[in-house]
């Protein structure tokens, strides 16, 4: 009996072990910590104390560092992924929230909520190169797949600003619905998706013509429309399926990226914010701000398979090879 138990246990353990394990870093906005999760065992392996109000979080392109924007300390902290300790800070502007990097990992662009600017940082020299004036309360940041255009969304101006990465000049402004929070390109560069938290939609923008060509709308039976507040967006590499976090609706929408229609809603934790895929794209992890946990979604099955407790008010997440 005892032996059989052991055997069954081992079999389960063998079956559960994926080919490669990754590591996820979650920023906890209120806890002032970053939770490290092993995606093999789905357990928390470390909690790192960081500065005040950590939100935007991303691996460096070489995977050696994790950068986390600590807004109330007006800086971005750099965590060494080997030692899992803070080793440096970056000179962002006041109240950094979200940031993005170019493909080479040389330049970083930071949205500074407090002074209507985007700060450009040289990642190698860790020096500030300059600022770009944008709309009121800059937030969402992304770079086009060809690296030529930087997108910034401004929450009170309600625009997606198209910025030429060479000249650092705004080349176009596209009006979207209220409080745009996140921007995501299709990997083939054909569409830019921008989520509007208060407007309750995702705008699909033609990045060449600079016009809104369509909108993803959401409807959940039994839920008032004001509770549907799209924030984080994840797009599969084949550009076929998108996932949209719907905030206090406590759901992630699965969207057919070609037709822009919602296929289904996945119930996750409370106030879902942001998300990231594991590099093999088997899993998608989403942060649930109010329930203090992370939901794991099986991408192929489009099902929530696990919930992991993290720190206080989780916000951002980034996943890479350990």
């Amino acid at each position: 009996m005892w032996r059989r138990c052991l055997l069954t246990g081992m079999l389960i353990w063998l079956a559960a072990t994926p080919a490669s394990a990754f590591v996820a870093y979650v920023s906890n906005e209120k806890g002032n910590t970053v939770t490290v999760i092993d995606t093999d065992s789905w357990t928390v392996t470390k909690t790192i104390k960081v500065g005040q109000r950590p939100r935007g979080i991303e691996f460096s392109r070489d995977g050696k560092f994790v950068m986390v924007a600590v807004g109330d300390d007006d800086t971005i902290q750099v965590i060494d992924t080997k030692t899992q300790e803070i080793v440096d800070t970056l000179p962002s502007g006041p109240d950094p929230e979200l940031f993005t990097q170019d493909a080479a990992g040389k330049t970083m662009y930071v949205a500074n909520e407090n002074d209507n600017t985007v700060t450009v940082i040289d990642l190698k020299k860790r020096a500030r190169l300059g600022d770009i004036q944008v709309g009121v309360e800059p937030e969402g940041m992304t770079v086009s797949p060809d690296g030529k255009i930087l997108i910034n969304t401004s929450e009170t101006t309600n625009m997606a600003h198209f910025i030429d990465t060479t000249t650092r000049q705004i080349v176009a402004n596209v009006l979207v619905d209220s409080r745009p929070r996140f921007a995501q390109f299709k990997h083939d560069g054909s569409e830019l998706w921008v989520s509007s938290e208060i407007g309750g939609t995702v705008s699909i923008i033609d990045p060449v013509k600079h016009v809104v060509t369509g909108k993803v709308t959401f409807e959940i039976p039994g839920l008032r429309s004001e509770a549907i507040q799209p924030v984080g967006i994840g797009m599969t590499k084949d550009d076929k399926t998108a996932f949209v976090a719907l905030g206090p609706a406590n759901r992630v929408a699965v969207v057919d990226a070609a037709t822009h229609k919602v296929l289904k809603y996945l119930l996750v934790g409370q106030r879902v914010w942001h998300m990231d895929f594991t590099p093999d794209e088997k899993y998608l992890m989403v942060t649930n701000g109010v329930s203090n946990d992370v939901s794991v979604i099986d991408v192929a099955a489009q099902k929530v398979i696990k919930t992991i407790q993290v720190g206080e008010l989780p916000w951002g997440i980034t996943i890479a090879q350990p």
Binding site: V136, T157, N173, R179
Partner: protein, 393 residues
């Protein structure tokens, strides 16, 4: 001096280069009262620019957006004294501005609305909370950004009931607006299942708000005034006139919390509110005005932002288009309350969550969980469509 001059030339060159055509100028008027009410608490004494400061910030925000759309916003500020002919002042202002934010008492607002009726000017009421302006005295050219007394009372009522503090001792001041607030609180008690166990009136016998030997006397008066009350959970005070309510906390005969005009106060904004990105506007406001943001500031900010929102959505300075958009189905505005604010089409009242603040912290935000509505949970606050007496014209 010389260096400064070069700087100016360089700056003007940049500005000319960026803008090919002259920007569309959009004038927003602000018509306020000069009279400042006296408050019991020194920290609550309004600044001279209370309200206007919020509108000024919104103009800055609108202009940041406007530079991408070639729109420029200008605020025309006018203050009236009680002795002024408000209709004349408003007519002059309407010659420059198609939209006027008002902070006026109900009667003056109605006078202005009727005077400007045929001009097509839209008034945005940022100051008056009177329900009658949205009910029997409603006007088709007045949009109400300020919440109503009944919305404020309902927001408080929902929380007190949620907290299971259902037995209220209602204390009302002797002035008209105190009685109106008491009416709204009684209505809230009936709607949400609270019971007013007793009512008392605090007579205003006159006298100064501040005296050198005041505290000793108040400390003796307030316990006596509140003694021998039937069993109650919370004292609810209706004292818009600022005569007694702020003297009640910690001085009631029975150890009970105070709410209404003191203690836990329902309000459209509080300097402590920091949720839903609010800390960003709080920071911008302090930077611009060197003081904290009040409810009236927020109401004026929202009013001026509504115009900015409508001009950017319509990409137009044409008041007909802008006003049609404001009153239309697609209008909504984000105002750091966690949800979009929309207009009630039957009386042009802005739907909005109401904060419950104690002067240091925001304790809660109404509508409370569980108060359901078939259209919008925000319509659980205030007079709803089936009960309205408003016929817009």
């Amino acid at each position: 001096m010389f260096r400064w001059l070069i700087g100016t030339i360089a700056l003007s060159m940049v500005a000319t280069g960026a803008l090919a055509a002259d920007p569309v100028e959009i004038h927003i008027g602000y018509l306020g009262n000069t009279g400042i009410k006296s408050t019991l608490s020194l920290v609550e004494q309004p600044a001279d620019n209370d309200g206007i400061a919020g509108a000024r910030l919104a103009i800055e925000d609108n202009n940041t957006t406007g530079k991408f759309l070639n729109q420029r916003f200008v605020l025309d500020e006018v203050k009236v004294k009680d002795s002024d002919d408000v209709a004349k002042v408003a007519t002059d202002l309407a010659g420059r501005s198609d939209y006027i934010i008002t902070d006026l008492p109900a009667d003056a607002l109605l006078k202005v609305a009727d005077t400007l009726r045929d001009r097509g000017t839209v008034l945005l009421n940022a100051g008056a909370i009177d329900d009658r302006l949205r009910e029997q005295d409603c006007r088709g050219n007045v949009i109400h950004v300020a919440p109503t007394r009944s919305m404020l009372a309902d927001a408080l009522g929902q929380y007190l009931v949620w907290k299971q503090w259902k037995r209220w001792l209602l204390v009302t001041g002797s002035h008209d607006q105190d009685k109106l607030y008491a009416d709204a609180l009684r209505r809230a008690a009936t709607r949400f299942g609270a019971k007013i166990v007793q009512e008392r009136t605090f007579e205003d016998t006159g006298g100064a708000r501040r005296t050198d030997s005041g505290v000793t006397l108040i400390q003796r008066q307030m316990p006596v005034f509140t003694q021998q009350a039937p069993a109650y959970d919370v004292l609810v005070a209706a004292d818009e006139s600022e005569v007694f309510a702020n003297y009640l906390p910690y001085r009631t005969w029975d150890p009970r919390p105070v709410a209404g005009s003191a203690g836990l106060v329902p309000t459209s904004w509080d300097a402590a509110h920091d949720q839903w990105g609010a800390v960003q506007i709080q920071n911008r406001f302090v930077k611009l005005n060197m003081r904290r943001m009040t409810a009236l500031d927020m109401q004026a900010w929202t009013a001026a932002r509504m115009i900015g929102e409508a001009t950017s959505r319509t990409n137009s300075g044409d008041p007909k288009k802008v006003i049609a958009f404001l009153k239309g189905k697609d209008f909504s505005i984000a105002a750091f309350k966690g949800t979009r604010l929309t207009l009630r089409d039957w009386n042009l009242q802005l739907r909005q969550p109401i904060l419950l603040a104690d002067g240091r912290m925001v304790v809660s935000v109404s509508p409370q969980e569980g108060f359901l509505h078939q259209v919008s949970e925000l319509d659980t606050l205030g007079v709803d469509r089936p009960e309205t007496k408003c016929k817009l014209q």
